[in-house]
């Protein structure tokens, strides 16, 4: 077994060395040099750790073979991830990746984002997502041609604020998430006690599952609310339309502890609570009206357990804690009268879309996209 493991280590090491040669540094612009440098460093660390597994006496004793295998699997996962998610983006770099990266930088500057802005690549096969290890957002291919879903960028850039360790500029935001988790624990503990007393523990199992799921749900709620507080109602409209188009289940309940995303209805309710907190009551009302109208026509309804899993009180606590966090780290809160050109444009896009004919809107959007691509971030 040990011999087979060592053979696997050699094979992976060869692949790691080969990957370093795949980074096309000559064609990458300056804005992508950081990610190329980070990936090279990470590959060097992988090679160093693989060498340790082969050479260090610690990993040659029988008692440590299981832990050697765990370490090997971890290094393989890292390498696999780098090859298929990072180097492929660098290898296929296009001019419009640079323009999208410039847009992300501009957004970060407008909202006074506390961390280094991430790079962006138009290569995602799974909607918008951010790679927090390499600070890299992946976006679907055509997104640079349209405005309506660009507010999702504001949600994605919140993930590094939650995951980055030991950074004084974001500690206060993370503390607010921790305070929210404490509230969640208190509230759900009360629900479990009430269920025991009043329902003969009918909902015990799902409440315990939900208590665990709320840990990852909390991250998503905070990222949604960060996007609301920095980009305004545009993010909520983007999400609502995503729900309508993608056919997701509005009142989904978790069936096991691995549920990572909360229900769409809960997310939208939290967003509306957030809009009301920053004084955008009419926007919240309009969203609520549209969402309820959609739900009425979609044959979806709430299970009796739904309110236990997503208590309104908890969603409102979430909105309050997140707003305090955003203010504490110094980000600009959305203001419809501000001079933040990108944020205003993205909200104006939704206003135009909802109040114009489709042909009028798409003609307007083409002009604005053309201007966006020429914006100088300096």
């Amino acid at each position: 077994m040990s011999n087979l493991v060592n053979h696997a280590i050699h094979e992976i090491r060869e692949r790691a060395v080969s990957l370093k040669g795949q980074i096309p540094i000559q064609k990458l612009p300056t804005s992508f040099h950081r990610i190329a440098f980070d990936v090279t460093n990470e590959l060097d660390k992988v090679i160093q750790k693989l060498d340790e597994l082969l050479q260090s006496p610690k990993y040659q004793i029988d008692e440590n073979i299981p832990y050697k295998v765990i370490r090997l699997q971890e290094l393989f996962q890292t390498l696999d991830y780098i090859e298929n998610n990072v180097i492929v983006c660098l290898d296929r770099w296009m001019e419009k990746d640079e323009r999208m990266t410039c847009l992300v930088q501009k957004i970060c500057r407008e909202i006074v984002y506390p961390l280094v802005p991430p790079t962006a690549t138009l290569i995602s096969q799974d909607y918008y997502f951010i790679d927090i290890r390499f600070y890299h957002i992946r976006i679907p291919l055509l997104e640079s041609n349209f405005l309506l879903h660009l507010p999702i960028l504001y949600h994605e850039i919140c993930h590094p604020i939650i995951s980055t360790r030991n950074h004084p500029k974001i500690a206060d935001f993370q503390h607010k998430l921790a305070e929210f988790y404490y509230q969640k624990e208190q509230l759900l503990a009360r629900s479990i006690i009430d269920d025991t007393r009043n329902n003969n523990s009918k909902f015990q199992q799902i409440l315990k599952i939900a208590d665990h799921c709320w840990i990852s749900w909390g991250i998503e709620f905070f990222c949604d609310l960060f996007a609301i507080y920095t980009s305004g109602p545009a993010f909520a409209w983007s999400y609502l339309f995503f729900c309508i188009k993608s056919g997701s289940q509005a009142f989904d309940l978790p069936t096991n502890k691995d549920s990572t995303h909360p229900s769409d209805d809960a997310r939208l309710c939290a967003m509306m609570a957030g809009l009301r907190l920053i004084g955008l009551h009419s926007d919240a009302k309009q969203l609520e009206t549209e969402w309820k109208a959609f739900l009425k026509k979609s044959f979806q309804s709430k299970d009796a357990k739904y309110k236990l899993i997503y208590p309104t009180e908890l969603l409102e606590h979430c909105a309050v804690f997140c707003l305090e966090g955003v203010k504490n780290i110094g980000c600009n809160i959305y203001n419809p009268d501000s001079n933040q050109s990108i944020t205003m444009l993205l909200n104006e896009a939704w206003c135009q879309f909802l109040n114009s004919s489709p042909s009028e809107y798409f003609s307007w959007e083409k002009q604005k996209i053309a201007i966006l691509n020429l914006i100088d971030v300096k």
């Binding site: 008692e63 971890e74 799974d126 918008y128 927090i132 994605e156 503390h175 921790a178 990852s216 995303h261």
Partner: protein, 124 residues
């Protein structure tokens, strides 16, 4: 927004602490075989942070939640388990029983890493 982004968060958190505990057990097993002592301050600090009621880092809350779920499934109390581990570490009682207790938690974190990784790959 997609599952990948959130699972990246969970993967990075689990991986970081998996690394910490894995390294400690490897060092301990080797030290025992060579009849040497080892430093365990990082691991003591980690377990003490976990057992602190006023956790202020969401990363530690995520790990606490994973461990708590594991222990609850086996009708064990997380505070008793963590106290036992911290007590043995502080007394430098690095023996098979302590390393088994930590090995359980390594498996919890490794399972979470694998699950998150598969979701990132779009397999699960």
């Amino acid at each position: 927004m997609s599952s990948i982004g959130l699972n990246s968060n969970l993967y990075e958190v689990s991986r970081y602490y998996l690394d910490l505990l894995n390294s400690f057990v490897v060092e301990s097993n080797y030290a025992l075989s060579q009849k040497q002592s080892i430093s365990n301050s990082d691991v003591i600090s980690f377990f003490k942070s976990l057992d602190n009621q006023a956790l202020s880092e969401p990363q530690l809350i995520i790990v606490y939640s994973l461990f708590n779920y594991y222990y609850k499934q086996r009708n064990r109390n997380i505070h008793n388990e963590l106290n036992d581990i911290v007590s043995k570490l502080e007394q430098s009682r690095i023996d098979g029983s302590l390393l088994s207790s930590i090995a359980e938690l390594i498996e919890v974190l490794n399972t979470q890493c694998v699950q998150s990784y598969l979701k990132i790959k779009g397999i699960k």
